[in-house]
Symmetry: C2
């Protein structure tokens, strides 16, 4: 499997097919979904994760919702679909791409006067294709920022599995490696869900890009040894001033990078930017169940009786980010003026 064919989300035979990312890398299993409720549950349970992939998934979820609503009553499908849209919108709170994709789909409703399925499927496919194209564009823009012989550190998974395909931060790493500019890729294992160890390593091994994993808390020692030039991460929501919500641990890396003179890059499509929010303080941070910290692969790893705090994201202030790479261009540094400028290029 090569990165140009690996797809976390795929529409096939009139249903939505998701790779079950909870089971990778031990097991490669594809789940087929036929209802919006099942799609919402798959997002909530992290069958699919990664802000752009969630957006694409939600778009296809709207197709399934429209199909059901239209079958129920062709005259009133735009009303009947609302319950499903709400289910999808509530699946996960932090990633804004989900809401962005739902808004893109809903914006088409007014122009549809017959069976909505072909129309909406075309829009969902366009959103999916646009995301892949954006990733390739960001790959070019991000890789151009890297010096020769670059050593990079990434966190979580931002590759084909987290997006429509190719990847955001991992897209930059793929392109940088392809260009011969990257000589070492480090990946945080990314507790508690181990996206780095399970997903990022899996993707890179398939692309024959050597990857060295490390415990998240070892990143500071690695930086102190002078072995990292750029930290490259994705984003789940970026506010108007450039503050960035991303996987828990990102903020830690940003503080440590600045302290060690390491550059810090965020790579995300403009669908991740929420210009409605002024700063990161306004972002709702999802907290998931303690069991994700207390257990691993079904086995208890912590002492019985311990509690756990399990925030899924943290917020990195814009001032710790050297470059925000989007498909519309690079904000270096990210700030309100530079972000607004993305739509005026």
């Amino acid at each position: 499997m090569h990165h140009d064919t690996l797809r976390a989300v795929r529409w096939q035979d009139n249903q939505l097919c998701l790779i079950d990312q909870r089971k990778l890398p031990a097991e490669y299993q594809v789940i087929n979904l036929n209802t919006a409720a099942a799609v919402a549950l798959a997002i909530k349970d992290m069958v699919v994760r990664g802000a752009p992939a969630i957006g694409v998934t939600a778009a296809y979820g709207v197709v399934l919702a429209a199909q059901a609503a239209y079958q129920q009553n062709p005259a009133h499908w735009k009303t009947l679909i609302q319950t499903d849209l709400q289910l999808l919108a509530n699946a996960r709170p932090t990633a804004v791409n989900l809401h962005w994709a739902l808004a893109q789909m809903q914006a088409q409703f007014a122009e549809i006067h017959d069976d909505p399925v072909p129309h909406l499927l075309a829009v969902a496919r366009a959103i999916h294709q646009a995301d892949i194209a954006a990733n390739h564009k960001m790959g070019e823009l991000g890789a151009a920022l890297l010096p020769e012989n670059c050593r990079v550190l990434t966190h979580c998974n931002t590759g084909s599995l987290a997006t429509g395909g190719y990847g955001t931060a991992l897209g930059v790493i793929r392109r940088g490696y392809e260009l011969g500019k990257i000589r070492q890729v480090y990946a945080d294992e990314t507790r508690p869900w181990l996206q780095g160890a399970r997903l990022t390593a899996w993707e890179l091994v398939q692309d024959h890009i050597p990857v060295t994993l490390l415990a998240d808390c070892a990143a500071a020692a690695l930086m102190r040894q002078g072995k990292v030039d750029w930290v490259i991460v994705g984003a789940d929501r970026i506010t108007a001033n450039g503050d960035t919500a991303n996987k828990i641990g990102t903020y830690s890396l940003a503080v440590l990078a600045r302290q060690h003179g390491v550059k810090f890059m965020v790579v995300a499509p403009t669908s991740t930017i929420d210009m409605q929010l002024a700063t990161g303080d306004a972002i709702e941070i999802e907290e998931r169940g303690a069991e994700e910290v207390l257990n691993l692969g079904g086995q208890a790893i912590a002492a019985h009786g311990a509690q756990a705090w399990n925030p899924v994201f943290d917020v990195t202030p814009a001032e710790l980010i050297d470059a925000l790479v989007t498909e519309r261009g690079v904000c270096a540094p990210p700030n309100v003026a530079n972000l607004l400028g993305l739509w005026n290029i």
Copy 2:
């Protein structure tokens, strides 16, 4: 089981009994050892871990070594024992307490002219008792530094399991909690070996001290929310200037603590201080096998083909440490003059 009776290391019926810390908390199993080679292997394989506990274990290991050497040839036991002493010395490279304990034991050899076992056992027991007493003393001294209503964050395990009994950093937390000064204990899970989740949580739950675990990389977000007053950790080796080698992730916490105005305390007996080394740059940092990062509880968690970097310790520069608490007093801040002063009190 209460902290005053929980002992990771115990001499009983002429053998050394160790709790197998690799199996906690799922399984409580005690291993009985009769040879120094078995003791060295137990240290190397982390049946027992924690710098002070390793020191106590090594002291008892010398008793077993002397027993075997004396049985082999009473006239030449001091020569015959050298191989075993070397085995013990090489079991793990970073913790200095191991070498300190071996030196304490060897210093007695010249005065022994008959069966060495009763003499050396008395010395090993004294080392063990002195470590427990030191921990109680440090508990008092460290707790005195804490404000009322304190929220503390600790890393790794520094409790009864890591010492002769009671604990260093965890001793301070126990005493602080007992005095009513601590209202919240956070513990990093401490990848890759999960000492926090497996051992620290286990000890605290038994002492009815509520504990909240978090993924190591979430500590920065916790500090940013203003929820930590003191980070309290142990040490594996402290150099003459106060630089401190401790569990990987400690340096990360120290940098983050300073950035967030959080105080940072190191708690360790003077047997952890290596005045022979000027600075932390001279400390040999043990790297263990990649499999500790790539697997967990016997199951692969990372993609096949990924590599891993697994340093066991990192070095925190003295300037990031607000207080070094020893059984001889507190160095605040730790520096050469203050450390030398510990022996002149």
